[in-house]
Symmetry: C2
Subunit: 248 residues, 2 copies
């Protein structure tokens, strides 16, 4: 960042070591702490953040657990390479093509699927009757073997009967929709928010408790504006940033 002084807060329900771990992660993402180089010594960090050395050690221990840092006794604590993926969002958002160039392999794993009655929210988004059957897919986006997103997706069960099989086979929403005669689609709307990861996110995204996830709620439509898909996706904020491409 650019000298935006963010300070440590006490008695806010978030422990100091968790806040400092977050700051170190930010520092790595912003380039303040170079990759493959040593962090400042623990005493210097403690001074910088205004806490005890042991508190810094707790933060470092958490990041070592996450695989971000590697301590070496007598030498220092080293930053392992860990670039944040930049996930593009726009009218033509596609999971696989969006990450091209940043990863060598990516696909969507189907965790589970079920059929359920549409809630009011989903019925409105998909333009179907409330209570009508919808197929719900729980998926995880993976790139180079690492989880980068966790999504819950709903389709009209009448129109897309069996789409869960197509997803399991192809590992791609785009490819699955082709089987139903949809060769192109657009993202109609995206609403963005953020929250702490819940237990499901933690497990599916291989996160440490307390991590923050970016949440997108999106509706995809056919070229003539017919809604076909409603999805809520969660991205780990420490590993993924969302890049909004103008008019894309």
């Amino acid at each position: 960042m650019t000298g935006l002084a963010s300070s440590i807060e006490r008695r806010n329900g978030v422990s100091l070591w968790r806040q400092i771990a977050d700051r170190i992660l930010q520092g790595i993402a912003s380039g303040d702490f170079a990759e493959n180089a040593a962090l400042p010594p623990e005493i210097a960090l403690a001074e910088r953040y205004g806490v005890n050395r042991h508190t810094v050690r707790s933060a470092i221990a958490a990041l070592v657990q996450e695989g971000v840092l590697r301590p070496e006794q007598g030498r220092g604590t080293f930053v392992l390479s860990r670039k944040r993926l930049s996930y593009p969002i726009g009218a033509r958002t596609r999971f696989s093509t969006g990450l091209q160039g940043q990863t060598s392999e990516r696909h969507i794993a189907l965790l589970s699927s079920s059929t359920e009655p549409a809630s009011r929210r989903i019925a409105e988004a998909l333009g179907i009757a409330r209570g009508a059957a919808v197929i719900r897919l729980e998926t995880r986006g993976e790139a180079d073997g690492h989880a980068v997103s966790r999504a819950t997706t709903w389709f009209d069960a009448k129109r897309f009967a069996g789409i869960e099989m197509a997803m399991a086979e192809t590992g791609s929403i785009t490819a699955s929709l082709k089987r139903f005669g949809i060769n192109d689609y657009l993202r109609q709307s995206t609403v963005l928010s953020a929250r702490h990861a819940d237990a499901d996110d933690l497990a599916a995204l291989d996160l440490q408790p307390g991590a923050i996830v970016l949440v997108t709620v999106a509706v995809n439509v056919t070229l003539d504006g017919q809604p076909i898909q409603f999805a809520e996706s969660r991205f780990p904020a420490e590993r993924v940033e969302l890049r909004l491409s103008a008019g894309d």
Copy 2:
């Protein structure tokens, strides 16, 4: 939401009461807890979240402090009305026009301004030499007297000398740029992330410690693609959601 079960995590550096306070806020935002109605009783909430009643009380106390809930002895704890603002983001993102219809009044308050040498990141974004003078504005977006955003903005000091005075007078970026002959501009790129609010955000946005902010980093350009503005904005996630408008 739609029955996406998010659970409470222990020993993660985030206290249970903070997590439960966040869940209650989510519940209000998603409609699980209706506005102007009573929450479930403390004992029921404790059971639902699997914690002690006193822990629930700590969470409620924090939200009472934030002005979200009002307890009444013997009757219940009531949800005050509190809609999240929906802030649109797209190629034509403007603070004031974006919130039209949701608020009756809005403007940007200039907190401070300074001139400083451009860091590498800002120089690249603005297409100027590293170390060249840039004007930095610290601003707060306000709607109906409530803080809804906190931004740090950089302009080329040579081209936009005195823009801080225009901002102070007009309370609008769009109006200020007009004084420099720029009648229209586009948002070239937006990068989105999320983190815990720092001390500055907490004070400027009137947040409680531990709150989450959505962070956008954006570059605005003239119609012919010349970069004119680099900005980092922070939005309180509990009060604002970002709505991405396709092709807008």
